[in-house]
């Protein structure tokens, strides 16, 4: 465990802030360009070489915008909401190892900390929805809270398998335990975590809280200027945080041959984010009751079964937990998913009035 000194604290705070801001800009650029390629168009290519300065131009534009506060808004809460939504995302990076031992605080409950902290964003979103006294905002915020209750449980349960194998909640230890990346030994866990994670950060196809075709812009409908930029930042910072968590927990974090560890870390993050862009370009949006049904009837039972299977495997093959299990677990995953897809019914959404 690294020594916790003030210098260490200061250094990593700066690193994390710079990392998040720069990566968010990279993500915005990547998302716009990749989405454009997937949608048979060009995307921003006029600002700077290959449109690389587009995020900067966006930032400048949004800073110069007039800051509008609705008359009937609850001013204090309205002001605080973007901040409350943003800070938990930064806190996540406190326990993410950028390289061997390179992290702000190697908490022994690291993963639990991540899970707990990410849920706080929801409060910020709800504050935004409530305070802006707009019905669309409120609907969006309510959706977010309702969805949180559903996906948080399978999200956590799907990673318990990883924790059982690595025998620790510390992110550093989890990376150290991955001689084989957990995506191979825990494919089902990865899949469930990815789906749940997309719901958590409101990425498509679960972008219910800002469902642009229904709720205009959801919780940040009334926000403009810098406060809107904060929410925009939160959106991408959350995607970055989720990519970082997936990288650390399932893709063996900074570990990799030849290249320096931090580069591996960044590359894996970008790859995971690429997957998110892909899903966003592909899928329509699900409905709120369908998301909850998916979480409770599909993700939850599968994550419990995954936990059970992993526990049995670890118990039986404590020392030889290795490559043998990769094909077995992949087969189990396919069978379970096919079986559940047969059993799983979303049901009807009509309500008699």
């Amino acid at each position: 465990m690294t020594e916790f000194t003030w210098l260490h604290w200061l250094l990593f705070t700066v690193i994390i802030l710079a990392f998040v801001i720069i990566m968010v800009m990279v993500f915005i650029y990547l998302e716009r360009r990749l989405l454009a390629r997937m949608q048979a168009r060009l995307g921003p290519n006029r600002t700077g070489p290959f449109g690389l300065l587009q995020p900067v131009a966006d930032a400048v534009k949004v800073l110069l915008k007039e800051d509008i506060i609705p008359d009937e808004a609850d001013k204090l809460v309205y002001w605080l909401a973007p901040v409350v939504a943003f800070f938990p995302v930064l806190l996540v990076f406190a326990v993410i190892p950028f390289q061997n031992g390179g992290l702000l605080a190697d908490l022994n409950i690291g993963f639990l900390f991540v899970m707990a902290v990410t849920s706080i964003s929801t409060i910020g979103v709800f504050m935004a929805g409530w305070s802006s006294s707009n019905k669309y905002s409120l609907l969006g915020a309510m959706r977010n809270v309702a969805a949180l209750v559903s996906y948080e449980i399978p999200l956590l349960l799907s990673t318990v398998g990883v924790i059982i194998i690595s025998g620790s909640l510390s992110m550093q230890q989890i990376v150290a335990a991955q001689d084989i990346p957990f995506i191979l030994t825990q494919p089902l866990g990865f899949l469930l975590f990815f789906i749940g994670g997309c719901a958590e950060i409101n990425r498509s196809p679960f972008d219910l809280l800002e469902a642009d075709s229904e709720l205009v812009a959801g919780h940040h409908t009334e926000y403009s200027g810098m406060k809107f930029a904060m929410f925009y930042l939160v959106e991408y910072a959350e995607a970055l945080a989720l990519s970082a968590i997936i990288t650390t927990v399932f893709l063996s974090g900074w570990r990799g041959p030849l290249l320096p560890p931090w580069l591996w870390f960044v590359l894996k993050i970008v790859a995971v984010f690429g997957l998110m862009i892909w899903t966003r370009a592909t899928f329509p949006r699900v409905r709120i009751d369908q998301l909850m049904a998916l979480a409770w009837k599909f993700l939850f039972p599968l994550s419990v079964i995954n936990l059970l299977i992993t526990a049995v495997e670890v118990l039986l093959l404590k020392d030889s937990y290795s490559w043998v299990l990769v094909p077995i677990n992949l087969a189990i995953m396919s069978i379970l998913i096919l079986l559940w897809a047969k059993l799983f019914k979303l049901g009807w959404g009509k309500i008699e009035v």
């Binding site: 989405l35 997937m38 949608q39 048979a40 168009r41 019905k135 669309y136 609907l139 309510m142 959706r143 498509s204 196809p205 972008d207 219910l208 469902a211 642009d212 075709s213 229904e214 709720l215 205009v216 966003r280 370009a281 592909t282 899928f283 329509p284 949006r285 699900v286 409905r287 709120i288 009751d289 369908q290 979303l346 009807w348 959404g349 009509k350 309500i351 008699e352 009035v353």
Partner: protein
């Protein structure tokens, strides 16, 4: 402890990303569920019917462009057929074929927008509609080639067409016709069995047979409810009786059927275009001699055609002057909206947007 809940009114529109124009739905909500809905329109009213009474019969054509601006060619055709019937004007053979080709291409272009916009309402982030716009673009290029316009063509005139098609039109048309089936297959591959699309649209917003007839719905909305009614077959106008094509129908009358009927109709339209290209005389008149100011005899006529969105009818009363005495438009978009309330009540707000999108209206025609 019991919490007090109350219903609230949510104004969806008139300025909302998914109302396809300035349409407003005044929804009474119980949480996410819509318990009562009142459609409000009229924001785009331009008085086209009254304007038409002061214009010559040819001068009305640009007004019809602005009814359903996504299918201007079909509107031109509908108007011209009405005037021709009223004034007893014959149309040359070649012009008839070209009209059919253009009208069917317009149907494909309009359905592409309808299907793409439906997917957008469903929450797909622009991908389907952009791919569909790519193909629509090719059709618009053809229209630009013949009329010089991309949206408001005013190309079809009483008695024929404004001018003959250029030499490069037919090869370009042939290429589009050969390419399109491949793209239709591509859409089917991506969307036909998309799990989320099925979950969102199957069984949602059902319009029953009886309700569809009672509300005088028409076009794909009617056919999706299982009624084989297509004016091209039931009451053939122009030369539609010379072509072989199917009238695809749905079973359940839900959003998915309305989407799927449109996808099938595009293939049928393509079939008609192919047959028309083969049968079309290579050369010939494009326009009969028509007086510059048409003065139809005293009388009235109701002429209807099958435009992409349904039955577009024009009721014209003539008093033997150069302008109609009364000009009434029966727009499919407006009448298809009649059942909107009954389809939406009981569904969630997300479904309401989808159901509304599946009707495929164009505000220019609703408010005219």
């Amino acid at each position: 402890m019991s919490l007090n809940t109350e219903q609230f009114i949510l104004n969806i529109g008139p300025s909302h990303p998914s109302t396809h124009g300035v349409f407003r739905m005044k929804a009474t909500m119980d949480g996410e569920v819509i318990v009562e809905l009142e459609p409000v329109f009229g924001y785009l009213h331009r008085g086209i019917e009254k304007l038409a009474e002061q214009r010559t019969y040819t001068g009305i054509i640009p007004l019809t462009d602005r009814l359903d601006y996504l299918s201007a060619m079909s509107n031109n055709l509908a108007h011209c057929i009405a005037v021709e019937k009223l004034a007893g004007i014959q149309v040359p053979e070649r012009a008839e074929y070209l009209r059919v080709i253009l009208a069917e291409l317009q149907r494909i272009a309009s359905h592409l927008i309808a299907a793409g916009a439906l997917l957008n309402d469903c929450g797909a982030f622009m991908t389907p509609i952009l791919y569909m716009l790519r193909e629509r673009e090719k059709i618009l290029d053809l229209f630009e080639m013949v009329s010089g316009q991309r949206l408001t063509y005013s190309y079809i005139r009483p008695g024929g067409l404004a001018q003959d098609v250029p030499a490069e039109f037919l090869p370009a048309l042939q290429k589009v016709v050969t390419d399109l089936p491949h793209f239709f297959d591509e859409y089917d591959q991506l969307l036909k069995e998309n799990e989320i699309l099925l979950a969102r649209s199957k069984g949602v917003g059902i319009l029953t047979r009886e309700m569809a007839i009672n509300t005088s719905a028409s076009g794909p909305v009617l056919r999706a409810s299982g009624i084989k009614w297509d004016i091209r077959k039931a009451d053939p106008y122009s030369i539609y009786d010379r072509f072989q094509f199917e009238v695809p129908t749905g079973k359940a009358g839900d959003c998915y059927d309305r989407y799927w009927v449109r996808m099938l109709e595009m293939r049928q339209s393509l079939r008609i275009v192919e047959q028309a290209i083969q049968q079309m005389p290579a050369a010939g008149d494009i326009q009969t001699k028509v007086p510059a100011l048409i003065r139809p005899p005293v009388g009235e006529i109701y002429s209807r055609t099958e435009v992409p969105k349904g039955e577009l009818g024009f009721y014209i009363v003539s008093d033997n002057s150069i302008a109609p005495y009364r000009y009434h438009i029966r727009g499919p978009s407006l009448l298809n909206l009649t059942a909107l309330r009954d389809m939406i009540v009981g569904w969630k707000i997300a479904d309401a947007i989808l159901i509304f999108g599946s009707i495929d209206i164009c505000m220019g025609e609703v408010d005219r």
